[in-house]
Symmetry: C2
Subunit: 143 residues, 2 copies
DNA sequence: TATTGTTATACTCTATAACTATA
DNA sequence: TATAGTTATAGAGTATAACAATA
């Protein structure tokens, strides 16, 4: 029980599913801490990155792509709007397009910097001989 | 936006960190559904698998190995005890050892069946040429 | 009829602070 | 002094049901 990463005594330590959960938790904790510096959550950043360079997506569409429930998009977008990062533009009397504001564009540059650094850091931890196999394996799990 | 897995239009779809999160969420949703059949949560099952064949670990020790906060172990173990799956044995006047009850041993066999099937199913989805690289890559992220 | 945006709600997971009793 | 077990609490993510207005 003196092992710092607590894996040595863990019979689950080599199960792919269990490792997948632990690795994702560790990496998301890392990313969340990096984004907290600019007062964003992971889901906030994912929305900003998704709507970068386009202002035609509705709340429901963004939710479908990012797998966020329609109902849960409401507080998320309200938060981003309160922070002045996004703007809503009526498409018709029912739907609204979500686009980055000027401040949102500026914030996006920082978000890209943070996420690029994070993704590099993540890949760098994977030994070179395994690295190229990682993304294809994960994509296969989502297919 | 008609793509069923909603990845085609997603500029994040090839970022390792983003994929890691999505893949873990998808796999854990799958595992949770399989375990729900026997009224267990993922963390419940991980505790049962961890203490299988030993009855010397305390609540705090289990938590350290599985990365579950001491405070969050309380309702978890209470639930397992209420279900009759574990027993507490005093080690001294402060600590208790957690062990499987007879019913817990029986339940463990089912848990093993469920998790083995799940892990096989997960690995089977990964193309053969990437499969052997998956666990080492995940372990590197936890090191 | 189906969809959008929304409200309300609830459950799970996770995290922290604090307390007591004991080692 | 440090640790075990516990209580209380809060934040975040996620899920469902339902509603009004509009397509």
């Amino acid at each position: 029980m003196t092992d710092p990463n607590a894996l040595a005594d863990d019979p689950l330590a080599r199960l792919p599913g269990y490792l997948l959960r632990r690795a994702a938790n560790a990496m998301m904790t890392d990313l969340a801490a990096r984004l907290a510096v600019i007062d964003l959550r992971i889901s906030d950043a994912s929305v900003l990155l998704l709507i970068a360079g386009r202002s035609d997506m509705t709340s429901s569409e963004i939710g479908r792509v990012l797998e966020i429930q329609r109902a849960n998009m409401v507080p998320l977008l309200n938060r981003l709007e309160s922070a002045g990062l996004i703007e809503r533009r009526p498409l018709d009397r029912k739907s609204q397009a979500i686009g980055l504001s000027a401040a949102g564009e500026q914030c996006l540059a920082v978000v890209r910097n943070v996420t690029d650094t994070f993704e590099e850091h993540l890949l760098a931890r994977i030994p070179a001989q395994h690295r190229a196999h990682f993304v294809p394996a994960l994509m296969a799990l989502l297919a």
